[in-house]
């Protein structure tokens, strides 16, 4: 019997943790209970990207977009939509809570400026079903590479497409492949770098969770192009769902003869193995990653020789990031010219960003290169949460820098972001508002780098520690003006002398905030003041007796508790016991809690 409705439930980690799986199971249970299990297909799919509004359930072919669905809503969705053919009005996406009108999927601003290549199948197919991937032109590129194109032709297509590494550095993929293809060796390796480590970044995880076969297909294409028969996917153990889906995908591909010996009856064989990382940030660096696969401690080694010439176990090795790989099957099927027509002159195609921080629509987005940051933050992202003032956006995580208001209209490309003192990075994008303190943020990133530095080279090991100590001093109001020069001096030395990019870029967040917000650093040093109220040692909370009406809300919220006062009388904060959590400030409806 033909299915009348298709219900797609988001199965990304974000929605899963918000009970997406329970919604999925409830829908199946309800469909059975209400006797319509043959009329509806219920599919768990990849991330829709609109994580802010999750869990998301989409019903086709009516294209009903349900947001913030709860497991208990399953009954109504089945009863209304599947049985009666009506949409569940209260669950449809609306522009804001007060708005009555539902917004059609194609009119949701979040999706309007997006262009999906990498995420083409995310939220469309069931990632654990190879048939659906095949139906969406899956393994068509592999077919073409095995039976129509010569290895050199594949490399030529990659070069002509202008695809550059999406892991952050932006090295042209075609060139990397050509280098490895030219080296004569009995064994070569293809490695997928899925060691995503930036705080707030989850592009690679979502891509694998939503479309694991695209990665496998691309690895095999790379194998064909450079003459390799063995691939490794290096993924961190913290991504259990992504790992599970990769395993399912590998099993299915092997069962169908799309992986393994003599693929599709050709003379090409390829095998993929998964290697789990323990979550060290430095293992995202390619040489450290290879050491980790080999079973050694994950520490970088000097380059050259580059891995494409001498990599895993001394053999030529291609290392491509998840997002880079996900582009490849589409480039092969649609052609290099098509891909090169998207984006800017030197940065082709699209880029996936994980949009987080003080933004209305946090989520996973994909935009053409050349889109401006303003479009991303204010159109797609819906602007700053709570109507606060935009302060800056951190791209590239702990390796990138802050980009401020005046530079928001810069079209995004590898070069333009570097020119602004930041970098493309893997695609984490953290938005900050006026309540964020630049010293605090810099200290946070530096602390991350101190923890994650492998300790092999002195500039990084000692430099990160020293910079963190100075930042800590400033945040406690004990800094001196000369400290700012010290920070810059150490930062410059680290950038120049570190062995790998972890140390080479660790100073970026601090250098960026120093450049744009030097006055705030000076405020911390000279006036012992943190205007955002984030540096706890500099903040004093007090209650304005004129404004306080004695409602007692702050006292109830205080976790210590250190707020006292009679009913309907002004309350008082005991500054000695106050832990400066800011709960009273947030709770007060009369603006009576003062921060200094």
């Amino acid at each position: 019997m033909a299915k009348k409705n298709f219900i797609l439930v988001c199965g990304g980690t974000g929605c899963e943790s918000a009970k997406g799986d329970e919604i999925y199971r409830n829908l199946i249970k309800e469909a059975e209970l209400q006797g319509v299990k043959d009329d509806v297909q219920i599919v768990k799919t990849g991330c829709f990207g609109f994580c802010e509004q999750g869990p998301i359930v989409k019903v086709l072919p009516t294209d009903s977009f349900y947001v913030q669905v709860k497991p208990a809503d399953a009954k109504e969705i089945i009863a209304e939509q599947v049985i009666k053919g009506r949409e569940v009005q209260r669950l449809l996406y609306k522009k804001d809570k007060k708005a009555q009108d539902n917004v059609k999927v194609q009119d949701i601003e979040f999706y309007q400026k997006q262009f999906r290549i990498v995420l083409r199948n995310c939220g469309v197919i069931n990632p654990e079903n190879i048939e659906e991937y095949i139906a969406r032109d899956g393994y068509m590129a592999l077919e073409k590479c095995l039976f129509e194109l010569k290895p050199q032709q594949i490399i030529d297509i990659m070069k002509a497409s202008g695809l550059r590494g999406r892991g952050g550095a932006g090295f042209p993929t075609g060139l990397k492949w050509e280098t490895a293809a030219k080296v004569k060796s009995d064994v070569k390796y293809i490695v997928c770098n899925a060691d995503e480590g930036d705080p707030g970044a989850y592009m690679d995880r979502s891509t694998i969770e939503g479309d694991p076969h695209s990665i496998l297909e691309a690895m095999m294409i790379a194998g064909r192009a450079v003459g390799s028969n063995k691939g490794y996917i290096y993924i961190r153990a913290e991504y259990p769902l992504a790992i599970e889906r990769l395993k399912v995908a590998i099993e299915q591909a092997k069962a169908m003869g799309l992986m393994g010996e003599n693929i599709l009856g050709s003379d090409f064989s390829f095998d993929v193995e998964i290697r789990l990382g323990a979550g060290a940030f430095v293992c995202g660096e390619e040489t450290a990653l290879l050491k980790s696969i080999e079973g050694n401690r994950g520490m970088p080694i000097p380059k050259p020789p580059f891995p494409a010439i001498k990599g895993l176990w001394g053999k030529p090795t291609i290392i491509n990031n998840v997002e880079t790989l996900a582009n490849i099957p589409v480039i092969i099927t649609k052609g290099a010219e098509w891909f090169a027509s998207i984006g800017t002159e030197k940065s082709k195609g699209t880029k996936v960003f994980a949009l987080t921080g003080k933004i209305n629509n946090s989520g996973l987005i994909e935009v053409p290169m050349g889109t401006t940051l303003r479009e991303i933050i204010f159109d797609i992202g819906g602007g700053i949460r709570g109507g606060k003032k935009f302060k800056g956006v951190q791209t590239g995580g702990p390796s990138g820098g802050i980009i401020v208001e005046k530079d928001l209209d810069t079209p995004i490309s590898y070069e333009s972001l570097v020119a602004l003192g930041s970098m493309m990075g893997s695609g984490g994008m953290i938005v900050m508002d006026e309540d964020d303190c630049v010293v605090d943020v810099s200290k946070f990133y530096m602390e991350f780098c101190v923890d994650e530095s492998c300790g092999k080279c002195a500039p990084c090991r000692i430099g990160t520690n020293q910079m963190h100590a100075i930042l800590d001093k400033i945040s406690k109001g004990k800094g001196e003006e000369a400290d700012l020069d010290r920070l810059e001096r150490i930062g410059k030395a680290m950038t120049k002398a570190s062995l790998c990019m972890l140390g080479g870029s660790a100073a970026n967040p601090t250098m960026g905030t120093l450049r744009h917000f030097r006055d705030e650093y000076l405020e911390h040093i000279r006036d012992h003041k943190c205007r955002a109220g984030k540096c706890k040692d500099l903040v004093v909370y007090s209650i304005d007796p004129e404004k306080c009406i004695g409602c007692g809300l702050c006292a109830r919220k205080c976790p210590v508790p250190c707020i006292t006062g009679e009913k309907k009388q002004p309350h008082v904060i005991d500054a000695l016991r106050c832990i400066k959590c800011g709960e009273c400030f947030k709770a007060c409806k009369f603006g009576a809690v003062l921060v200094r």
Binding site: D39, P61, K84, I134, L264
Partner: protein, 131 residues
């Protein structure tokens, strides 16, 4: 599933593509809406629905036509009812659309661009009331 050859993979993909095409909304400007209230289902609307889908796939129209269900259209006396919205054609509600009439509807209305005279029951009053 057994290991496949190139030809098998291609045939498999074509078959699966039809299935998945039914989920797609984009680029489909023809809509066939089947009334599936209790009255419609009792009169055989589910069978009509299946027959429509089959007939569309047979003619390779699955990328152009969206088949979906709706509630009762109010014309319970001529169930099953099917509304067809196609560019260049007047929007029509057909009645008494049993499974046997489905193929004729696809052939005449969608392929030949002609109306099925003996099944037309126009549009219901809601449409007139609104205007």
């Amino acid at each position: 599933m057994a290991r496949m050859t190139l030809d098998e993979l291609r045939a498999f993909r074509d078959a699966k593509r039809q299935d998945l095409a039914r989920r797609d909304v984009e680029g489909k400007d023809i809509q066939i809406v089947v009334g599936m209230g209790t009255c419609g289902i009792a009169a055989g609307a589910k069978l009509t629905f299946d027959a429509l889908v089959e007939s569309i796939q047979k003619r390779g129209l699955e990328n152009k036509v969206l088949v979906r269900q709706t509630g009762c259209m109010g014309l319970c006396y001529v169930e099953p009812t099917v509304e067809v919205i196609a560019p260049g054609m007047p929007t029509v509600i057909y009645g008494k659309m049993t499974k046997d009439a489905a193929d004729e509807l696809v052939q005449k209305h969608l392929v030949e661009g002609k109306l099925l005279d003996n099944h037309i029951f126009d549009r219901p009053a809601a449409d007139i009331v609104k205007k």
